[in-house]
């Protein structure tokens, strides 16, 4: 939401690509500030405590956004083409923005996978996730890793917000449903597995879209959450996650 909104705000003053980059950078800074101000100095915070704090912060951001931008629906222009133009792909007509979303999504996953598997920093971050104390013993600064993970996820969120903004529009309160959906997808795919998350995201999206066949479209939001609940009840490790990895985490 923040990414989309900031991009919309900057768009009149800057060329579109620059506005989006700046929006992403600003959102990253916000993410870092939130982590440093609210999370970093806590002494061994429980996960629940952090969740409640972040929910509280998201409410705060929402309210600030409401007062900054009002409750109107905003949008960005299509990156290429316009809202009525489409591209013919083997007989299927697709809006060019959809291709942008798919492309950027794919790129983000590839970049994340490379980051976590190939770079030293990514491996350090995974070590922290698996066992914080052991990672610290190996000389990894766990605190910085948490900050970095906040910045990283803020950046990805902002990129996503900016890319889908032309299609879905953006509003001060469009963040919360997305957060829930993101959590659902993460659980569905198994936490800490970005490739599986993409598969899970597709499954969720398709299930949600097809639910309109049998249920009123107003229930669409409820469907994804019902799926989240079912997954949590039945297989909290996610469909693609291994039970072994899940045993390390506490549900």
């Amino acid at each position: 939401m923040l990414g989309g909104m900031t991009a919309v705000t900057l768009q009149p003053f800057l060329p579109l690509p620059l506005a989006i980059v700046l929006a992403v950078v600003l959102t990253m800074i916000v993410g870092a500030v939130i982590e440093i101000v609210f999370i970093r100095w806590l002494y061994k915070p429980s996960v629940l405590r952090m969740v409640i704090i972040t929910i509280g912060i998201s409410i705060g951001i929402r309210e600030v956004a409401l007062h900054l931008w009002g409750n109107g629906v905003k949008t960005l222009p299509y990156f290429t083409g316009s809202s009525i133009s489409s591209i013919n792909l083997g007989g299927v007509y697709i809006s060019s923005q959809v291709l942008w979303v798919v492309g950027v999504g794919g790129l983000a996953v590839a970049a994340l996978t490379a980051f976590f598997n190939l770079t030293m920093l990514g491996r350090q971050m995974r070590a922290c996730a698996a066992n914080r104390d052991a990672a610290r013993l190996c000389g990894i600064d766990a605190g910085n890793m948490v900050t970095l993970s906040f910045v990283l996820s803020a950046a990805i969120g902002a990129i996503g917000g900016a890319v889908v903004c032309p299609i879905t529009y953006v509003q001060y309160d469009s963040g919360t449903p997305l957060a829930i959906k993101g959590f659902t997808v993460a659980i569905l795919g198994g936490l800490g597995n970005s490739t599986a998350a993409v598969g899970a995201g597709m499954i969720l999206g398709i299930l949600e879209s097809f639910s309109i066949w049998v249920l009123p479209s107003a229930y669409k939001e409820a469907i994804s959450i019902a799926i989240l609940l079912v997954i949590l009840f039945v297989k909290p490790s996610g469909i693609f996650g291994s039970a072994e990895a899940a045993r390390l985490k506490e549900f």
Partner: protein, 357 residues
């Protein structure tokens, strides 16, 4: 024992004192918000029982509130006149359905409010029981997200269902008749009686919860809160007790929803919103988690200020900020029994006492 009822008596006299104050200063209109506050307080103390004493968080209590409110509103406004059958006439003869006239003089045949209330409570128990079982197996952020999800499902369903009024909600809900000519209704003439009825109910709920805490169940819950595995090893059926408290607090929320709907004469989807759930949790947190009196007094103050509009457009933000601050600086809640010793510990900065209870 005596001390417990002393607190109840003190609170009851506070309620009377507030009414007297509004009577003598001629500000009786404050009682309307105070009555609504009472119903929200009922949700808060129920949730306080769940969070503070059973150690389980719920970010979906507005959902249960809305289930109660919507079932009551729907059944008491659903005109059964077009459905003249054997079943309907049988129900009518048994007194389950009552004829009444609407605002425009048309005749309605609707379910009796008491029966609607019973149906609402029953449905809440069933739903809470069904979802409570698997939900309470979860811990930490999974529990928070699952309960948040339940709340959002309720919100989306009431928002998307036509016969529940979609985004308009249900209005023209009749009053809730009580013996002795009283009724839970938003009339200016019955403002004082409703104020006492609502707070009387809250006090009744408090007595019930206070006794529960001091009972076998309450001690078992304290053990669960302290060390769940140890409690289980001692033979305490931890899962069952947690489920009981979850259902109980859901019933508190649903009952509050039913009665507030009758009092306001309507219910809207915002009652089921995430912000309402967050608000209840924030109030419990500032009240000191495992402190029913703290939760009740904070609910009285904050709900009243919010309903009177003192927070203006920052209404939701205030509760969000409260929640963040409490969780940052006092994750065990603000108003608690060890408040003084906590303060001392914070200022003396002695790390060796960090683990002290």
């Amino acid at each position: 024992m005596a001390r417990r009822y002393l607190a109840v008596a003190a609170f009851a006299s506070l309620i009377v004192a507030i009414q007297m104050a509004t009577f003598f200063t001629g500000t009786g209109y404050h009682l309307t918000q105070l009555t609504m506050t009472a119903y929200y307080s009922l949700v808060t103390v129920g949730l306080c029982m769940l969070i503070g004493y059973a150690g389980q968080i719920s970010l979906g209590h507005a959902g249960f509130f809305a289930i109660g409110g919507y079932v009551a509103a729907f059944l008491t406004t659903w005109n059964l006149n077009p459905y003249q059958g054997v079943f309907v006439s049988l129900l009518k003869r048994s007194g389950a359905l009552v004829p009444r006239t609407d605002l425009y003089g048309g005749t309605l045949l609707t379910v009796h409010p008491w029966l609607a209330c019973a149906a609402a409570i029953l449905l809440t128990i069933v739903i809470a029981y069904i979802v409570g079982g698997p939900v309470l197996k979860l811990k930490g952020h999974y529990l928070a997200m699952a309960t948040l999800g339940i709340g959002i499902i309720v919100y989306r369903v009431v928002l998307g269902t036509d016969f529940l009024g979609a985004s308009d909600g249900i209005s023209e809900v009749p009053g809730f008749p009580l013996p002795g000519g009283l009724a839970i209704i938003g009339d200016a003439s019955s403002r004082v009686s409703n104020y006492y009825l609502a707070w009387g109910l809250v006090i009744l709920g408090m007595v019930l919860l206070l006794n529960l805490i001091d009972s076998r169940v309450g001690r078992a819950l304290a053990a669960v809160h302290g060390a769940e595995d140890a409690a289980g090893a001692m033979g305490i059926p931890t899962a069952r007790y947690k489920l009981y408290v979850f259902v109980l607090s859901a019933v508190f929320a649903a009952l509050a929803g039913v009665l507030l709907t009758h009092y306001n004469g309507g219910v809207g989807p915002s009652e089921a919103g995430v912000m309402k759930s967050v608000r209840y949790v924030a109030i419990v947190a500032i009240g000191g988690m495992a402190n029913l009196w703290g939760a009740l007094s904070m609910s009285l103050v904050l709900n009243y200020l919010s309903l009177r509009g003192y927070f203006g457009t920052y209404d939701d933000a205030v509760f969000g900020v409260i929640l963040v601050l409490i969780m940052l600086f006092a994750p065990d809640g603000l108003l608690r029994r060890h408040l003084l010793s906590d303060l001392k510990r914070v200022f003396s900065r002695d790390p060796s006492e960090e683990e002290a209870p």
